[in-house]
């Protein structure tokens, strides 16, 4: 079966000829029925890529075929078969949950009984049926996100684009959304999921694409990707400090037992060939600089390690 999505050298440059190139000629394919994740730090180009695939932005170069329709030449046809759950909550606070869904359903071209049935189904699916008549303005953040989610599904799309759907919400709502994604996929929807949370990508995806600075730097199943990292370990030092000197990182990188070092979120993350041999050197260098370490974790290779390995930077900045 041909892939349901075929992306060919998709490029976006703002203000050509000299402006920023947000997406630099990305190419990949997505099979029908899979959950495909984009993983990358903020500003990597994930949202821009989704925007081009959903017809929000015009690509500067390249094209993508979604179920055979070109996003450049047939954007309306594409929009009819895809659903999008945007990163920011896009709802009308003054209207009720039901009124919101009815409106968005109409925008998808649904009407009459089909529309009403679909709206009720969605409200049930996301667990908001009891609050259907209340104004969205009174909802909590998690509830808004669930409704935001439902709004993208009303027309039962074959393909669903989810752009960082779990940013800044409580663990319960996040759990619900992840379960919903799995359920939808089980029912046959192809899912494109962008996130900068490694755990989500690992839990959900059949295949993962790692993006950085507008380029696709790795693509494959979780197993394939972690194998790229090889036999290295990850050392994670939890610090008391909020900031560290760049010279510390340089010193760590210079150490023969260290492959890569990066700092983010009060953690120094190190890629090392062997944790046991690297640990004494690392601790020496760190304490020499007077930095206090509160905890040390030793981890198996994972996506973050891969990212660090490939780019020298942390996934989370």
């Amino acid at each position: 079966m041909p892939p349901i999505i075929e992306v060919r050298a998709l490029t976006k440059q703002y203000n050509p000829p000299s402006g920023t190139v947000a997406v630099k000629g990305i190419s990949f394919q997505v099979e029908e029925g899979e959950i495909f994740s984009f993983l990358g730090p903020n500003g990597a180009g994930k949202t821009t890529t989704i925007a081009m695939l959903s017809g929000l932005l015009r690509p500067t170069a390249g094209d993508a075929l979604i179920a055979g329709h070109s996003v450049v030449r047939e954007p309306l046809a594409v929009k009819r078969i895809i659903g999008v759950v945007p990163q920011e909550v896009a709802l009308y606070d003054e209207l009720s949950a039901r009124q919101n869904l009815l409106f968005w359903g109409r925008m998808y071209g649904l009407s009459g009984k089909t529309l009403r049935t679909s709206v009720e189904e969605m409200l049930d699916l996301v667990g908001l049926a009891e609050r259907a008549k209340e104004r969205v303005g009174t909802f909590s953040g998690g509830m808004k996100r669930r409704l935001n989610f439902a709004a993208g599904l009303l027309h039962k799309p074959r393909i669903l684009f989810l752009d960082e759907p779990t940013v800044g919400i409580d663990p319960q709502s996040r759990r619900r959304i992840l379960d919903l994604v799995k359920e939808l996929n089980r029912r046959g929807t192809t899912i494109i999921y962008t996130t900068h949370y490694m755990e989500e990508a690992e839990e959900l995806s059949h295949r993962i694409a790692i993006i950085d600075h507008g380029e696709l730097i790795a693509l494959g199943t979780l197993a394939e990707l972690t194998r790229m990292v090889g036999e290295t370990d990850t050392l994670r030092l939890h610090l008391a400090e909020e900031f560290v000197d760049a010279s510390l990182l340089d010193a760590l990188r210079a150490a023969p037992t260290v492959l890569q070092a990066s700092f983010s979120d009060r953690q120094i993350i190190l890629e090392v060939p062997d944790a046991a041999t690297a640990l004494p050197d690392v601790m020496r260098i760190v304490t020499e600089q007077g930095v206090r370490v509160r905890r040390v974790d030793i981890e198996e290779p994972n996506l973050e390690t891969l990212f660090l390995h490939l780019t020298g930077r942390a996934l989370r900045d």
């Binding site: 017809g55 009819r80 999008v84 109409r106 925008m107 998808y108 071209g109």
Partner: protein, 398 residues
């Protein structure tokens, strides 16, 4: 899942209208306040510009006590719009007429004499009474001029033997002139060319109504300037753009929503004006409808054009307040263009509000029909096309 665009346009319009009315106070601002304004302005303008049936009390202080001053007092007393009180009266009056001592002497002497008409308070009655006094005393002033001329001429031919003879001669001339001036064989007959019932003159409410209609609907319709800004800020614009909905449909939907709000408001104001204030909106409901619709269209289009200048809802709000009130003031909704300088009138004609006010005035005051306001309708349609073209050209969807 095609769905026709009309349904989507209506869905967007209905959604916008729902959002507008989700705040309950909107009803008050939308309907109650315009009527309240029209009521207050109508009552005030009515009393300010029409002469009432009741006589306004004025106090006359005759310090001269001469035959001439008695003539003056008699002339005032015979006025149908004044109720003359003597100086002894204690009641508060808006106007006082003082005939100073020596008036007759000065007139006989050939010097200038002044009758003081003092407005004792700042009120409509005082202004009105002063005008009535002036009108009542005009024959007296003219008769006095004649008498003085006769006296002068006769005196030069043959001087008078005594002051008494002089005075008698003056009064003979004065009274003859006064009587003669009461029977002027030529009068002015005013014929208004209007065909409507208002040919006789507009009531205060009628004067106020069209202006208020234009002012309030301007504020509502220019709300179009917020069109995409608030959607953008909420994030819903992005979502709309990933829907199988073309940009044309989105824009049209928003315009239809705004237009409906404005038209609803106009209909209610016109009907309420008719029922509560007995405003006669002319002889041609068709003309009224067509003008109202084209005006609304042109203003919504202007709103879209303005929306290209604003980046956030706050800016939009400020721009809407500034533009709507300025357009109303410049357009003749607050004061008539008649009394403004020619340059002002030229500038005003660059605005749709002016043309709408002009058309409304023709319909209401002159009882005009569609054929009488074709130029105005044409101009409003041209404005619509121009503003829409500008707006669509410069509209940023990101």
């Amino acid at each position: 899942m095609g769905g026709d665009p009309v349904r989507r346009i209506l869905a967007i319009a209905v959604k916008d209208i729902r959002i507008e009315f989700s705040e309950r106070m909107t009803w008050v601002v939308f309907f109650v306040l315009p009527l309240l304004f029209t009521a207050v302005l109508g009552v005030s303008m009515g009393s300010a510009f029409s002469t009432g049936e009741t006589r306004i009390p004025v106090r006359v202080v005759d310090e001269d006590g001469s035959r001439l001053s008695r003539h003056i007092v008699d002339a005032l007393a015979s006025s149908s719009s004044l109720a003359v009180q003597s100086a002894a009266g204690e009641a508060k009056v808006p106007l006082e007429v003082v005939i100073p001592r020596g008036t007759e002497a000065r007139v006989l002497q050939g010097d200038e004499a002044v009758v003081h008409v003092r407005r004792l308070e700042k009120s409509v009655n005082a202004v009105s009474a002063a005008a009535s006094v002036r009108a009542a005393l005009t024959p007296v002033v003219r008769a006095a001029s004649v008498a003085r001329l006769v006296l002068q001429t006769a005196e030069r031919l043959r001087p008078f033997a005594s002051p008494t003879e002089r005075k008698a001669f003056f009064y003979a001339a004065f009274e003859a002139a006064y009587r003669a001036l009461e029977h002027v064989p030529v009068r002015v007959e005013v014929k208004s060319v209007g065909r409507g019932p208002q040919a006789a003159g507009l009531s205060g409410f009628e004067q106020a109504s069209a202006g208020q209609l234009v002012t309030w609907t301007l504020i509502t319709l220019l709300g179009a300037a917020e069109a995409l800004v608030s959607e953008r800020v909420r994030g819903t614009l992005r979502r709309l753009l990933v829907m199988p909905v073309s940009k044309t449909v989105i824009l049209t939907g928003k315009m239809v929503g705004r237009l409906s709000l404005g038209v609803m408001q106009m209909v209610i104001l016109i009907l309420a004006g008719q029922w509560f204030f007995h405003v006669n909106w002319g002889r041609s409901p068709l003309a009224l409808t067509v003008v109202a619709l084209t005006f609304a269209l042109s203003v919504v289009a202007l709103g879209i054009a303005l929306s290209t200048l604003v980046r956030d809802p706050r800016q939009a709000n400020g721009v809407i307040v500034l533009s709507s009130l300025t357009l109303a003031a410049l357009g003749g909704a607050w004061w008539p263009l008649e009394i403004t300088p020619p340059l002002y009138q030229k500038v005003a004609h660059l605005l749709p509000s002016t043309w709408a006010m002009q058309a409304f005035t023709v319909i209401i005051a002159r009882g005009g029909g569609v054929s009488d306001v074709l130029p105005e309708i044409g101009v409003l349609l041209a404005f619509t096309a121009l503003f829409l073209a500008l707006g669509v050209w410069r509209l940023r969807w990101e």
